[in-house]
């Protein structure tokens, strides 16, 4: 194992990890505000991958362009999913919310299995195999683009929450729901917007993931777990934490693939998850347990 190989794997892990981070960011935003755990998160990511795949296969739309379309469509889906279905569960016990979304996840993953079959699909871009040489280290161009796009979307989201009136209102709901209602905020609408924004993140992440990975419906449950793991490691409800968690998991899994075996990589994530839950349950960047 040469140093340049290790560096290559490290960098690759970091780049992919940022895209995972964007996916997890969606989960974190939804949980942080609506307090509902989106158990169908990985399923949405895979639907995003298929959407970008179809747009490319049928209309030759580059996934980096399709990202915007997928995110917009997912925003609408998320908005109405919250308004029509999830809103009835906001005040119900945790396990009922969980079971609702588990049901949705089952429907989605098996629906995709019926439509697309179990075979892996991928997108063949003209620059899929281009790379840069950084000294002896080889870096995939497409991964760099995907990571930059993920950072861009995450940055836009930070700006949205920080500098817009709506973003401020949503943060108010997250901080103090009763207070937000008292000062006249339309909480139902803000929740729906938040769910939409969360799904837009995961849709965008899906469109980016199809550039760096094959897609099969069976990826979905593992992506759900991956997103949870990242969010818990980073800190539930912390936006920066989701990206940091993505980086950590991306690097850990890439190194595990190299050192142990690719099929064992999620063991390393789960081990990290257990360690974090035991010693720092609020996550790397989370606030102390409220």
């Amino acid at each position: 194992m040469t140093l340049s190989l290790v560096l290559e794997v490290l960098i690759q892990g970091m780049l992919t990890g940022l895209v995972y981070g964007l996916m997890a960011l969606g989960l974190s935003v939804i949980f942080g505000v609506v307090r509902v755990v989106n158990f169908a998160h990985g399923e949405f990511a895979v639907v995003g991958m298929y959407a970008a795949f179809l747009l490319f296969a049928a209309l030759k739309i580059d996934p980096f362009v399709a990202m915007g379309l997928v995110a917009a469509a997912f925003f609408v889906v998320g908005y109405f999913l919250q308004r029509v279905v999830v809103t009835h569960f906001i005040r119900r016990p945790d396990h009922e919310q969980f079971i609702l979304l588990v049901g949705l996840a089952i429907v989605m993953v098996n629906g995709m299995l019926m439509i697309f079959g179990p075979d892996a699909r991928h997108v063949e871009l003209s620059y899929s195999y281009d790379s840069w040489m950084l000294g002896p280290v080889l870096i995939d161009k497409v991964r760099v683009f995907a990571a930059l796009a993920a950072l861009g979307v995450a940055g836009a989201l930070f700006a949205f929450f920080r500098y817009t009136q709506t973003g401020l209102a949503i943060r108010a709901c997250a901080d103090n729901l009763t207070g937000a209602g008292v000062v006249g905020l339309d909480v139902d609408r803000l929740y729906a917007l938040t769910f939409g924004v969360g799904l837009a993140c995961v849709g965008a992440a899906g469109a980016l993931l199809i550039c760096v990975s094959d897609v099969t419906p069976m990826l979905a449950p593992s992506f759900t777990l991956l997103a949870f793991t990242i969010v818990i490691i980073g800190g539930l409800g912390s936006m920066g934490g989701a990206l940091l968690g993505g980086l950590v998991i991306g690097v850990a899994e890439a190194l595990a693939s190299l050192v142990i075996a690719p099929s064992m990589k999620s063991m390393v994530s789960f081990a990290l998850l257990v360690v974090i839950l035991a010693f720092r349950p609020q996550g790397l960047m989370g606030k102390r347990a409220a």
Partner: protein, 324 residues
Amino acid sequence: MRREHLLLGLLAAALLALPLALDRYQTSVLVLVFLSAYVGQAWNVMMGFAGLLSLGHALYVGLGAYVSAALFVHFGVSPLIGLLAAVAVCVGVAMAIGALSFQFRIEGVYFALLTIAFAEVARIGFDHLKWTGGAGGLFLPVAGSDGQWWNLRGGPLFFYYVALAMAAAAFALCAALRRSKLGYQWLAVREDAEAARAVGIDVTRARMSAVVVSAAMSALGGVVHVFYYNNVFSAQIFDMTRSIDIMLAPIIGGIGTLFGPILGAFILVPLGEGLIFATQALGVNAPGAKAVFFGLALMIIIFLAPNGIWPSLRKRLGIGEAKP
């Protein structure tokens, strides 16, 4: 004699005599019903009684299956003895997970995620464990062991009565637990852990005992599962869909009720078989269509009747089971 005892007696008598009127296939469907009711009952101890949502219950079924099967294949140990080892392993793992969770106050959603994570670790681990056949699965020898009941060898009729006895025993055990001091402690912890602590209940101990009872029961389910099917694959037995299958019957029947898991199993298993027939006749992807239907059913049930079917059915029958 109270009404529910009479109805229960009638049901038991009917189920004991039923194989006389069934063919081999129908018998095998009922084996699945009873096994599903049994494991559902085990899951219900954790979720329904103690309020601990386990989303990775396939872990215990799978461990039970692997331990007993490996002992039988490698050392010829009878499953009647192997099940002790299976229960011991599952209880050990359950206590480790319980200790980790309760020590560090991992609750609610986090606890549910942790259970999935451990099931996934087991799936990946057994995929790589050569001793149990790795990803290729572990197969029990079938030839020349007919009629060895002490090795759990037999056809659907044999397993019909084994599974029926298990489902009945689990029902009786849960009914007894539900009325015991421990049962009331579980309910108190489920409703409000802080209040339970305030009245002097050792919350951690109560939770731990629920996890242990549930894991031990599930282990036995796994033992019978593997000796019925004669094979076990880590990718299947530890899969998250298997964990979800385990939860479905008690959720649809009624979380926290005694009869819910049984009712749910009687509804779901035949429904699933019927759906497979229907979708095959229509020429669509059968497993996918079945799962889509179950997913929708799950969403609709939890939307309309989060307490399941049994509580409303019970009222119609005029049966007074203790409140869930």
